[in-house]
């Protein structure tokens, strides 16, 4: 593909190119391993896909990206084969492109508004972002963004998930001394313990975080803020000028139905933490997990976490794997790609069913799930049709292990130890949406701890907004909106 081709193609010719799907591991083979499902684009595929972008005058895709990646510019560089320059362009706005390219729900964001998508399939922005980030990483030529001179200001970031990492990255680039405190032994938050290896290889997360270390960001693991140290101590004793709280929504919801404490009943957080963070699928690691081999496993819920859990159970050797969801497939919040992958891997979808009891044996082990059939009634406040139970429709499915994946609430640790920080009834931290500032001076918050369980990219957007506000407060300046 020559450099000049970009300008020579007519809009009509561009429209004729079909969206390039990513090559992926065949379903049967991938059920037997934890390797990444998608292989990513080749340079040729990437350049061809990039040609589909018509470089609109008003690139609405940029506004639809929570961190406003300059999508038109980076794709233009890809079309010209300037992959390393494209990587630099993305990193002006996004510190974790290899991660976002993999886990962002692009169909609801940048790709949803893509002009090409109105007549044909949208440009595969996510796939291209991923390609560019991987290309740079594999080139051994990772460039760091420019860091401004040291300001002498110290900022503490609590939590090393997507919100905290993005905030730390931006603040470090502005010259602030940033320390990230993480409760677990590994950095990355949900990127590490939640999203499975087969969707997001942990090595990639580590390498993207290593870049932040090279920017000068310091990391301290095994520090549970609220227990090991309080926010007041960080500010008063350790001399931090500002604090960003990005601790996520890490408190699993259970269903409150009988039998929930039987052996074999997991929260999605526990099941995924054991498998992803503790590597329970690898016999060289000490952490155990329920032996799924030949067993029937059900995951309750319809989000991405549910898909991750059910596909993980399949890879651990489960014979039958079910998704039990109280609405219909149409209402599922999971990404279409994840639902498709799950189906290809043999996951059975039991829709319009709600568990009412976990049935156990005399030794306290789960044996079955008692379900009640549902039908869809009127829309509720979320706009989704409310499931209504069908009378006398109870029945029991034989299940050996169940994973509850119905969402997460907020961990109360920080609320308990820093009562000055205002929280909602749900326990989420209340902030000024423009600045992410909490009710305590110098303390900002963003990500799932503010919104409740949401997406990686929204958390990153919040981290970025907070970083800008922190910078402005510390330097007493106003940074123009980009």
């Amino acid at each position: 593909m020559s450099e000049g081709k970009m300008g020579k193609l007519s809009a009509k010719e561009r429209m004729k190119i079909h969206r390039h799907e990513m090559p992926e591991q065949e379903a049967k083979a991938r059920c037997g391993n934890f390797d990444e499902v998608n292989f990513g684009y080749t340079p040729e595929l990437a350049m061809e896909e990039a040609l589909r972008c018509i470089q609109c005058k008003d690139p609405v895709c940029i506004e639809a990206c929570p961190v406003n990646v300059k999508i038109d510019e980076f794709i233009g560089l890809v079309a010209e084969g300037k992959f390393l320059d494209a990587a630099q362009k993305i990193k002006e706005d996004n510190a974790l492109p290899a991660i976002c390219g993999r886990v962002c729900p692009q169909e609801d964001q940048c790709e949803q508004v893509c002009v090409i998508g109105k007549k044909s399939e949208p440009v595969a922005i996510g796939n291209l972002e991923r390609f560019v980030a991987d290309y740079e990483r594999n080139s051994g030529n990772m460039k760091l963004p420019e860091v401004k001179p040291a300001t002498g200001k110290k900022v503490a970031v609590v939590g090393s998930g997507p919100a905290g990492l993005t905030c730390a990255n931006d603040l470090a680039q502005w010259g602030h001394e940033v320390t990230v405190f993480e409760a677990l032994h590994e950095l990355g938050g949900v990127l590490m313990y939640g999203i499975p290896e087969f969707r997001l290889p942990k090595q990639i997360v580590r390498e993207e975080i290593d870049n932040l270390k090279k920017l000068g960001v310091k990391f301290q693991t095994n520090v549970v803020v609220g227990r090991s140290v309080t926010i007041d101590e960080l500010m008063e004793e350790d001399g931090f000028d500002a604090v960003f709280i990005g601790v996520g929504a890490g408190l699993p919801w259970f269903m409150g139905i009988p039998g929930e404490n039987l052996n074999g009943v997991y929260s999605a957080n526990e099941f995924l933490t054991r498998v992803n963070l503790m590597k329970a699928y690898d016999s060289n690691y000490d952490s155990p997990v329920f032996d799924c081999k030949g067993k029937n496993v059900a995951v309750i819920g319809g989000g991405n976490t549910a898909m991750d859990a059910v596909r993980t159970a399949r890879r651990l050797g489960a014979e039958k794997v079910y998704i039990i969801y109280r609405r219909s497939e149409k209402e599922m919040p999971a990404r279409i790609e994840e639902i498709k992958h799950a189906k290809e891997e043999g996951v059975e979808f039991i829709m319009l069913n709600s568990p009412v009891e976990f049935v156990g044996d005399e030794n306290g082990w789960l044996k079955g799930v008692k379900c009640l059939k549902m039908e869809l009634g009127e829309p509720d406040e979320s706009g989704r049709r409310r499931p209504v139970p069908v009378k006398d429709s109870e029945y029991v499915i034989d299940i050996d292990m169940v994973v509850i994946s119905i969402g997460n609430g907020s961990n109360p640790l920080i609320k308990q130890t820093t009562p000055e920080i205002g929280t909602s009834k749900k326990g989420t931290i209340v902030v000024n949406q423009e600045t992410m500032q909490t009710s305590k001076k110098g303390v900002y918050a963003g990500g799932d701890i503010v919104t409740g369980g949401a997406t990686v990219i929204l958390a990153m957007g919040a981290g970025r907004t907070a970083a800008k506000a922190i910078h402005e407060e510390l330097m007493n300046v106003t940074v123009n909106a980009e």
């Binding site: 409760a183 549970v224 140290v229 409150g256 404490n261 052996n263 155990p288 109360p412 640790l413």
Partner: protein, 287 residues
């Protein structure tokens, strides 16, 4: 990396470590615990903080070699390191001047009962300690317990030392002897804690137990440690580990703690075959 400053066996298979962890030492209160991961392949296990020293920046843990991880930990010596130590975790013990308080430790549970006994004494209680062990050689922290107690008793199952019988029998004897008890703390194996709860229930004596469910993160994000208290699910790592003994569903706790028995047995067998050092260590310990 967390450096082990000192390490010594207190009894067969029970080892005491002082570990450099200044941040934890500074904040820790009686009843709290740490989560420890030995190495890259290791699992995360909870261990109660038995003591701490703000000046030296160290915490003390006491470990009974029961499975692979604790056996492996007990092979470590002063100068060795532990990869991860997170804490202090859990709610501190609720301490006040109850009047007469009994602190009961069964087996290695004495290591957990000890710091709370100290705190109870400092709060002005009359402190009675009952330190139960299988036999004379398994008694730990006897001198330490004596120092903080107004009355200190040791019981052994086989009668080789102190009171012959279970801690519950000693407790019953105290009650029968007319001692007015206002508060009982019991820490040890599940059957022991359950039995203590049944001794005090008819008298309405406030009784607290420190529960020991399986944990992963220890920060409230997974619910693996959930226990049933008063019919409700609680996370022992953030709501506990101490709970009202009269409200705890001990059967559920015992069932849940058996969840990984097969894995644990296999891991231990592997470890023992692999590790011939074990015998030498035990020989050293019995010297």
């Amino acid at each position: 990396m967390y450096k082990i400053v000192s390490a010594r066996f207190l009894a067969e298979n029970i080892k005491m470590f002082e570990i450099e962890a200044p941040r934890i030492a500074k904040r820790r209160k009686a009843g709290q615990f740490v989560i420890v991961r030995l190495d890259e392949q290791g699992e995360r296990i909870p261990l109660t903080i038995a003591d701490s020293n703000v000046e030296t920046g160290t915490i003390t843990i006491i470990v009974q070699g029961a499975g692979k991880t604790t056996r492996k930990l007990n092979l470590k010596e002063a100068g060795d390191t532990i990869l991860d130590v997170a804490g202090p975790l859990g709610q501190p013990s609720h301490i006040e001047n109850f009047g007469t308080a009994v602190s009961i430790g069964g087996g290695v549970g004495a290591a957990i009962a000890y710091p709370t006994a100290v705190a109870l004494k400092e709060a002005g209680n009359k402190v009675i300690t009952i330190n139960g062990a299988r036999n004379k050689d398994m008694v730990i922290l006897e001198d330490e317990m004596k120092k903080v107690s107004d009355e200190a008793y040791v019981t052994t199952d086989d009668g080789s030392y102190g009171f012959h019988g279970f801690v519950t029998q000693k407790l019953q004897a105290l009650i029968d002897g007319g001692e007015k008890l206002d508060f009982v703390l019991a820490i040890g194996p599940i059957p022991m804690m359950r039995a203590v709860a049944e001794v005090t229930r008819p008298y309405g004596i406030k009784t607290v137990v420190s529960l020991n469910p399986v944990m992963v993160d220890g920060t409230g994000m997974c619910g693996g440690c959930r226990v049933v208290v008063g019919g409700e699910s609680k996370f022992a790592c953030v709501d506990g580990p101490e709970f009202d003994a009269h409200l705890v569903d001990f059967k559920n706790l015992a069932d849940r703690n058996r969840m990984y028995n097969v894995h644990e047995k296999a891991a231990l067998e592997h470890f023992e075959t692999d590790c011939k050092l074990e015998k030498q260590i035990q020989a050293q310990a019995s010297n």
